[in-house]
Symmetry: C2
Subunit: 190 residues, 2 copies
DNA sequence: CCAGGACGCAACGGTTGCGTTCCGGCGCTC
DNA sequence: GAGCGCCGGAACGCAACCGTTGCGTCCTGG
């Protein structure tokens, strides 16, 4: 019976407000103001700020990051990096994600939600890509998928979300070459 | 004429409060309470929250991250990674750094301070290490120092500050091997 | 046509924090 | 031993937000 357009306006307002002031400073009143909605409408849907944010954010996060399968590891890797870099350059995402990551460090419920919404999926993607590469013989058998994920996503995240330096196609290509090089000899320590 | 022990207590309280609630929720009153100090003592030293936090944080940040010079690139890299991983595993630092990074995305003054206190120095260290390795012939001449810094620090930061998975010595060694592999063939795209 | 529910709006009392002011106490230095 | 300046503490007026409530309106289904 809740009106869908109102719910959508609230969801939208939460994402924007989250991007502008962060979770710590997010207030229900500001969300209502921004959505052009009474506070009542919000409390009718969620019982508090945390629950609201978690539900909305994970709903958004769950529809993203496909499984690349281009036939070669280099192709998979470049596609994955391209997608992730696009996502991390999105105005709202690039504000919200680091903010919630930081918040997760002190709020276990946020940590758990983020873990489920992002990390688990990332690990699955990484394992699949690496696994395919190993069966194709492109990577050594002992390749550590965990390490691979860190190498694939770490530098991207670092550059886009932390140091916030712009990225171009050349950089992305250099990076993917570097990661391939890393994984080829990044197996068990010699 | 300001008492030094009071100043120290405030600095300490700010760091701890920052770690617990983050910049967004940091309040002068809480800092004063924690330091066992009157608000007056704080306003006598800094004129507002932002100025206080920036001064205190950059004072702490400036005394860190030495220049490794072990004689080999592998040695430099492992030492650097060891130091950084220790720093990022420090209870307070691991909370404050991601928090301020996220805050920097929406506050230019924080961004500028962090840039000066951390990133600039990191880049200098990276350039020095890579430069030494190139003159020694351990890395190809065209090696991109920018990319190198991203590869050295990105995965570490990702793992310790974002996914918050524990790290052991083996992992660190694998990672450094991988990074060396990456840089050896991460030059200009073929 | 009517009942019911979701809507916005405004207001409630209570809490928190801001930045400022004034106080009396304490420890310097001269 | 007088005076100066920092100290903690308390209170100030102001603003924001909390979560709740009551009001009147509008839309919808029966």
């Amino acid at each position: 019976m809740l009106r869908g357009d109102i719910t959508a306006a609230i969801r939208n307002a939460v994402m924007n407000e989250l991007a502008e002031v962060g979770y710590g400073r997010l207030s229900i009143e500001a969300v209502a103001r921004r959505a052009g909605v009474g506070k009542t409408a919000i409390y009718r849907r969620w019982s508090n700020k945390l629950e609201m944010v978690l539900e909305i954010v994970s709903a958004v996060a769950e529809r993203s990051v496909p499984m690349p399968d281009t036939g070669s590891f280099a192709g998979d890797l470049q596609l994955l990096m391209f997608i992730v870099s696009k996502a991390l350059q999105h105005r709202i995402a690039s504000q919200i994600i680091p903010d919630l990551m930081a918040e997760a460090a002190r709020n276990p419920k946020i940590a758990e939600t983020l873990q489920r919404a992002l990390r688990t999926h990332q690990l699955a993607v990484g394992e699949k890509i690496v696994g395919q590469a190993v069966t194709r013989g492109e990577l050594p058998a002992g390749t550590n998928a965990d390490l691979a994920v860190d190498l694939m996503l770490g530098p991207l995240y670092w550059r886009l979300a932390v140091s916030r330096t712009p990225i171009d196609d050349d950089y992305l290509e250099n990076l993917s070459h570097a990661v391939i090089g890393a994984l080829r000899q990044g197996g068990p320590a010699t």
